[in-house]
């Protein structure tokens, strides 16, 4: 190997090393984005708790949604509950900021009702178009939070009511 060749390869090897370190670090930075947001989501759970508990104690003439839920279960007729839930949650979760909501009831891990928003997930997933790869660098993403509440039916069955919301951060 000639003197000139060894000098050039030395320089190129250093530059290559610098590029490798930079790429490695860029990946590290990208992967750590979610860690910073974790604590904010946990504190925001209180907000979902408020929405769920108010939903259950919403007054309906002489009863509440809680009572309607129990009656719906025993009559196996959820139409009124569904209409009411959609009226309430479609008002709370407007389409732009918080497009996703889902409310469900389970007894022994078996769902006895589930209602959700008409939400198109495709808007918030990465585009299939390879030319749109830059979307990965945007700040907007859908953060989901859920809150659960246990209620006891008259025959001592324990039901779990869960409200899930998805908001753009």
């Amino acid at each position: 190997m000639k003197k000139g060749e060894s000098a050039i390869t030395f320089v190129f090897s250093l530059i290559f090393l610098a590029i490798v370190i930079t790429i490695f670090y860029a990946l590290f930075l990208l992967s750590s984005v979610n860690k910073a947001n974790f604590s904010i989501n946990q504190v925001s759970l209180s907000d979902v708790n408020i929405n769920l508990i108010n939903y259950l104690r919403t007054p309906l003439n002489t009863t509440t949604v809680y009572d309607l839920m129990i009656n719906s279960y025993y009559n196996n007729d959820y139409r009124e509950l569904e209409t009411l839930s959609e009226n309430i949650f479609n008002r709370v979760y407007d389409n732009e900021r918080c497009p996703l909501w889902n409310i469900k009831g389970e007894i022994n891990n078996e769902k006895f009702f589930e209602f959700e928003s008409k939400f198109d997930a495709r808007k918030y997933t990465l585009s299939q178009n390879p030319r749109n790869f830059l979307r990965i660098f945007t700040d907007d993403y859908l953060a989901t939070r859920s809150s659960s509440f246990d209620i006891v039916f008259p025959d001592n069955k324990k039901a779990k009511i869960t409200l899930l919301e998805g908001c753009v951060e």
Partner: protein, 158 residues
């Protein structure tokens, strides 16, 4: 006169120049990579705003209805006024809040009006941190309990 030796020395120096430049670049990148994450301070503005906006619904001094026990999430309609909210939430000169209580009509209260007016500039994430959340609330108005929405928009100057 040692021309051959002089030629060899200057030739060696010329070869060393790119090496030194490359070494300096690598050293600079290494220092940069180490100091970059260390100098970054952790941002807590959004966390702070989340905790502050919950005060309106959790604290009986603000809006929470109290009938012997504090009912978080149920708003006492008589507490939704400028004087009461200014007292329970003394916003510093960097935070502004816009509250909208929505029933069959919309009632609006601004805390720290000068800053709250800047909510339209929330797209400028470099200078402002903004949060906006709508709660589903129950409103106790004398003997009547009705449902409504409470929208809390908060802005903080960075």
């Amino acid at each position: 006169m040692n021309k051959k030796a002089q030629f060899e020395t200057s030739h060696e120096l010329i070869i060393w120049i790119p090496r030194i430049i490359a070494l300096v670049i690598v050293a600079g990148i290494v220092f940069f990579l180490i100091t970059l994450p260390v100098k970054q301070s952790f941002e807590i503005d959004k966390l702070q705003e989340t905790i502050l906006r919950q005060r309106f619904l959790y604290s009986e001094n603000c809006l929470a209805h109290n009938d012997g026990k504090v009912n978080s999430g149920i708003i006492d309609k008589s507490k939704f006024n400028q004087k009461n909210l200014d007292k329970c939430f003394e916003a510093n000169d960097k935070i502004g809040v816009n509250l909208n209580l929505i029933t069959d009509k919309i009632e609006t209260i601004n805390l720290n009006q000068k800053i709250a007016e800047k909510l339209d500039f929330c797209f400028d994430k470099k200078h402002f941190t903004c949060t906006n959340y709508t709660y589903y609330v129950l409103i106790q108005d004398e003997k009547k309990l009705e449902s409504g929405l409470l929208n809390v928009a908060m802005i903080k100057i960075k």
